[in-house]
């Protein structure tokens, strides 16, 4: 259990160590950052399947801060550290060509990773707030990393809305502390079970839910995302869309609702409404986009809608669908952002109208983007199909065929908008396609190809392979959610 703390401490330390030593030697920051994230991935892999409590400083649960490793946090840790390793790998050449100041970049990157790892591990409300602020503030800076006017504007909007969300969360935590005189999540949960819900705890719940929904970019709290995600460097976009909105948004929301307050019919139906609205609004907005990354960003909203819809169904099958889609989305959406980064790296543009015929010049990029597009559109045998299947089946099984129909409609529109990308960027030509520029384009360097290939194989393989071991893989995480607050209290507090 001891090395769980390394998942937080190692990136935190390296975030400051890399700028200190990396100034002289050009290749050192790249190597150090990649070794760090690889190490984190290995650590996350080791913690897979394990459970336990780590007490910081040896103080037992309600008094000190605890880190809780269970099925749900292990799943999130695996996703976070896998994508962050691939993102650092992708960053090496990408940053070299398009940005400066790798030191600051890696520093912020690792801070963000530390914040996310901390947020999914912690069992303490205030600690959760601190970690999600670390991750959020690092991401504000990373969104504005290019320092162009547009990027700074996006970063500013993100900063304002993100801070308001953080304030809501802090206020919610403060209210809970004022009511129950404890910050430990399990302790709050047990106090709630003893005292029942009153207006203060409900108000705190609303503030926390709205705060986390804003971090997760669910409609109508989504407005920062379509600006912020495309403005960041591509590997950061992949991290933001693939991981961040899940770790400090969806995960925190689900943990709060399922393990502290307990899922109620009202919360469940709130989730399904948010899910359907986000699903449809996100995909409709994406359809009108011509900016490659902006289109992808809107799809993150839409896909989070699917995930939260699964959680809102609140049946084991629905939870399975939600978690499975969470994992799959992190794979194919980061892959798509990496692809957009590769395309931008070669063509220097994000505008689909200026691209064309990339399938002849960039086979790896276009092949992987086709696979990811088919995944996100839910075409078999790719992984997105399987998780959408589970969600649709769960909706029908829960006697909510209307929700299933929305999911199907969203899926078709997703397919429409991704075939738009495929058409303009890869197979056909945009309106402002320039054949002379096209002659000069070529496939991206090897280090950038590796994450593309790895994720493409995962998109294809995970769907098929996971189908067999689906219960085994997601079983621990699902039981964490279905067992509710009681089991969580028993695990953390031992009573």
């Amino acid at each position: 259990m001891g090395n769980v703390i390394l998942l937080i401490a190692l990136p935190l330390a390296m975030a400051f160590f890399i700028p200190m030593v990396g100034r002289k030697v050009r290749w050192l920051p790249d190597v150090l950052a990649n070794i760090t994230t690889l190490g984190l991935f290995v650590l996350a892999g080791q913690s897979w399947g394990r459970e336990g409590i780590y007490t910081m400083g040896g103080w037992p649960a309600p008094l000190g801060i605890v880190l809780v490793l269970d099925g749900l946090s292990a799943l999130l840790l695996f996703i976070i550290n896998l994508i962050s390793f691939l993102a650092t790998l992708f960053s090496v050449d990408y940053l070299e060509k398009l940005y400066t100041s790798k030191l600051r970049y890696y520093s912020l990157f690792l801070l963000m990773v530390a914040g996310m790892n901390g947020a999914v591990l912690t069992g303490d409300f205030f600690n959760l707030f601190v970690f999600l602020e670390i991750a959020s503030i690092a991401s504000y800076a990373l969104v504005g990393f290019g320092c162009e006017a547009e990027e700074l504007e996006a970063s500013f909007k993100y900063l304002v809305i993100g801070s308001i969300a953080s304030t809501f969360i802090l206020l919610g935590v403060a209210l809970l502390y004022g009511r129950f005189a404890t910050l430990n999540m399990a302790d709050v949960a047990s106090a709630l079970q003893h005292h029942g819900f009153d207006q203060v705890s409900l108000f705190a719940l609303v503030l926390l839910v709205v705060g986390f929904c804003t971090k997760a970019a669910l409609v109508p709290f989504h407005a920062w995302l379509p600006d912020a995600h495309p403005s960041a460097p591509a590997p950061i976009s992949a991290m933001l869309s693939g991981v961040l909105i899940k770790a400090i948004g969806i995960y925190a929301l689900v943990r709060l609702v399922y393990n502290v307050f307990g899922i109620s019919p009202l919360l469940a139906s709130l989730f399904t409404y948010l899910g359907v609205i986000s699903m449809m609004a996100g995909v409709l907005l994406a359809l009108g986009q011509w900016d490659f990354k902006r289109l992808l960003a809107y799809h993150s909203i839409s896909q989070m809608g699917y995930v939260i819809l699964g959680f809102g169904l609140a049946t084991p099958l629905g939870l399975l669908g939600g978690l499975f889609h969470l994992l799959n989305h992190s794979l194919f959406k980061s892959l798509l952002f990496f692809d957009s980064g590769s395309v931008e790296y070669e063509t220097g543009t994000r505008n689909l109208e200026k691209m064309g015929n990339l399938v002849q010049k960039m086979p790896v990029t276009s092949g992987s983007s086709l696979m990811a597009s088919l995944s996100i559109s839910g075409i078999p045998p790719f992984n997105g199909f399987w998780s959408k299947l589970v969600i649709i089946l769960a909706a029908v099984q829960a006697q909510r065929p209307g929700l299933a129909l929305w999911a199907v409609a969203g899926s078709i529109l997703t397919l429409a908008s991704f075939s738009k990308i495929q058409r303009y960027a890869f197979w056909g030509q945009g309106k402002d396609f320039d054949a002379k520029l096209w002659e000069g384009w070529k496939e991206v360097p090897v280090l950038m190809r590796v994450p593309l290939l790895v994720l493409a194989v995962l998109c294809l393989g995970s769907g098929l392979a996971l189908w067999h071991g689906l219960k085994g893989l997601f079983g621990p995480a699902i039981s964490v959610l279905t067992d509710g607050p009681t089991a969580y209290i028993a695990k953390v507090l031992g009573r």
């Binding site: 500013f156 909007k157 304002v160 809305i161 308001i164 969300a165 809501f168 207006q199 409900l202 108000f203 719940l205 609303v206 503030l207 709205v210 929904c213 804003t214 109508p220 709290f221 407005a223 920062w224 379509p226 600006d227 009202l266 709130l270 609004a281 409709l284 907005l285 359809l287 009108g288 064309g356 015929n357 399938v359 088919l374 559109s377 839910g378 075409i379 078999p380 045998p381 199909f385 959408k388 299947l389 649709i392 089946l393 029908v396 065929p401 299933a404 199907v408 899926s411 078709i412 529109l413 397919l415 429409a416 075939s419 738009k420 495929q422 058409r423 303009y424 197979w427 056909g428 030509q429």
Partner: protein
């Protein structure tokens, strides 16, 4: 046997993968591999078919219906493998790789008993279809996109329908289900499955991808997928759904018949006015689906048998027609009817096979198309005997469709093969293509002349599980023979009268070799008829295209949403606040 079928599917997929991995230069090697595999596949299905087995496990269902469709798929795979080498310009490795994958997935979808297997392979077919259309280069990107959205989108409905069915019945296998529709969920499940079948087969209103891809996609791709394979698959699913999966309410039969009859007539009207040979054929590929749907939707043995027979016949002659069109395009470099003419002497084999296939599709006895259409008609009449009165409408519509089909094929035959030549330097198609054409045309003749012993009893008998019913053919045949006789008599009588032959001229000037009168103009008149004028105008604006209409509506909604996203921070913050207030009011109400 289950292992054997699994082996065939695995071999198809592996060989496809090998083709994709081989470099594009090794054309001969790839061709040989594809040919060997598709031949082996066909022969093994013939072997299995001969044994007349039926087999049913959790994953595999091999009965009369899946047997005949699987046999058909492997047969067309073989024919197209033979015919393609000389017609595809490049990317041999990709083409044959996707072709073999399509065969593997097609066979697997047809023999699947488990819902999940069907959905996976069905969806995979959408991918290979998309990739095969895209092989034609950048100009095919838009049609490919449209196809992927329509066909891939319908897969989601398939998924939803099967999920509904699973929840309603608790079963996951086709063989275990015979669901009596008595709730709206059951009807919804049925409609969802029908959407998938219609989109794949190209029945209205999900047909628009076929004409759209016809002009750009490679001709062998057209001959392979929309013309033959997708018809087999779509009608297979429709038959499976209608005959085995559900037993349902008459109103749903009515809906299906309506869709079938409208498809027949509307598509053939569109075909009449086309100038492009491939597009004309594509509209016929839509129109003919109507007969199959009508046949299945009669619910009578002879009608269903006719629908399935028509499915096979259509695949045969439409494949032949597309390959013939491909041969013409390959040798002349164009597929515009206005630029072609007089090829009958230059390309006799192509002409004769094309003519036979055209007569077959127009339902001229004694070719196969006549018999299957006749069975569909008789099925409609028999459905009428059980008290329904709607059959007259459908029968009349189907017959009108048949007459107009003949008219539009007269146009194509005249424009392409008869009349004055435009181009001197035209040779006959290459031998591999001729082989495929002759084979298919021969099948048209054999299936027509021996319709009862060969196709109906041997191939299709097991599919419906009852002995082939007697056809009341003697009276119509007498009429038809008399009609033909009269026609020939009039023709010869007209030869007796005195005639003067002169060179073609316009305004006193003799026509040069480049100028020629094309048959297409004769058919423009139909556009001027009062009711049809408005329909054609609408069709040109694409108001009957589900895809375009959907695009318009979605585009409108999208603009509304986009207008709301003004980029003003204050507005975004007010949304946040609004959301907070709504959630607050929900939770604090109690």
């Amino acid at each position: 046997m289950a292992d054997f079928i699994r082996l065939i599917v695995a071999v198809y997929f592996t060989a496809g993968l090998i083709c994709l991995l081989l470099p594009g230069r090794t054309r001969g090697l790839i061709w040989a591999l594809a040919l060997a595999v598709s031949l082996a596949g066909f022969l093994s299905f013939v072997l299995i078919f001969q044994q007349r087995l039926s087999y049913c496990s959790a994953f595999l269902l091999w009965d009369g219906l899946s047997a005949v469709v699987a046999l058909g798929i492997s047969f067309f795979g073989l024919v197209i493998s033979v015919a393609s080498l000389s017609t595809i310009p490049s990317a041999t490795n990709q083409y044959y790789g996707y072709l073999l994958w399509t065969l593997g997935a097609g066979v697997a979808a047809v023999v699947a008993n488990h819902f999940l297997l069907l959905v996976v392979f069905w969806g995979f077919l959408a991918i290979t279809l998309y990739l095969m259309i895209n092989l034609a280069g950048p100009q095919a990107a838009y049609p490919a996109k449209k196809t992927l959205i329509i066909v891939g989108g319908s897969d989601s409905f398939l998924l939803l329908g099967l999920c509904l069915l699973y929840v309603l019945t608790g079963k996951l296998s086709f063989s275990e289900i015979n669901y009596q529709i008595h709730s709206w969920q059951g009807a919804a499940a049925f409609l969802c499955l029908t959407v998938a079948a219609f989109a794949k087969a190209g029945a209205m209103p999900f047909h628009t991808w076929i004409p759209e891809i016809s002009e750009t996609a490679w001709v062998p791709v057209m001959a392979f997928l929309p013309a033959s394979l997708d018809k087999l698959l779509g009608i297979y699913l429709l038959a499976r759904v209608c005959l085995h999966l559900f037993s349902f309410h008459p109103s749903l039969w009515l809906l299906l018949r309506l869709a079938g009859a409208v498809t027949v007539v509307a598509a053939v009207f569109m075909a009449l006015v086309q100038h492009n040979m491939k597009k004309l054929l594509a509209y016929h590929a839509v129109s003919q689906v109507g007969y199959m749907v009508l046949g299945v939707a009669t619910g009578t043995t002879v009608g269903v048998l006719g629908g399935l027979f028509h499915m096979i016949n259509h695949a045969v002659y439409k494949c032949c027609l597309f390959l013939g069109a491909g041969a013409v395009e390959r040798q002349t470099g164009t597929s515009q009817l206005d630029d072609l003419g007089g090829l009958a002497r230059k390309m006799p084999v192509t002409f004769v096979t094309f003519l036979l296939a055209s007569l077959a599709i127009s339902g001229v006895p004694p070719l196969n198309g006549f018999f299957s259409k006749w069975m569909v008609y008789q099925g409609l009449v028999e459905a009428g005997r059980s008290g329904q009165t709607d059959w007259v409408v459908w029968l009349v519509m189907a017959m009108i469709g048949s007459a107009l089909t003949l008219a539009s094929f007269l146009k194509i035959i005249h424009s392409v093969f008869l009349g004055r030549t435009t181009n001197q330097q035209v040779n006959e198609a290459p031998s591999s293509l001729r082989l495929a054409l002759v084979t298919l045309a021969l099948i048209c003749v054999v299936f027509g002349l021996f319709y009862l012993p060969v196709p109906v009893s041997r191939l299709l008998g097991p599919a419906t599980g009852v002995p082939a019913p007697a056809l009341s053919l003697s009276e119509p045949l007498i009429f038809i023979v008399w009609g033909l006789f009269l026609g020939i008599l009039i023709f010869f009588l007209s030869l007796l009268s005195k005639k003067r032959y002169a060179a073609v001229f316009v305004g006193g000037e003799k026509l040069s070799q480049q100028m020629h009168v094309s048959g297409t103009e004769f058919y423009q008149g139909v556009k001027q008829l009062p009711f049809l004028r408005r329909m054609y105008a609408g069709a040109e604006k694409r108001v009957f295209d589900v895809y375009e209409v959907g695009k318009q509506i979605v585009g409108y909604v999208t603009e509304l949403f986009r207008a709301a996203h003004s980029g003003v921070l204050g507005a975004y913050l007010s949304w946040l606040l609004f959301g907070l207030l709504v959630v607050l009011s929900l939770f604090l109400r109690v």
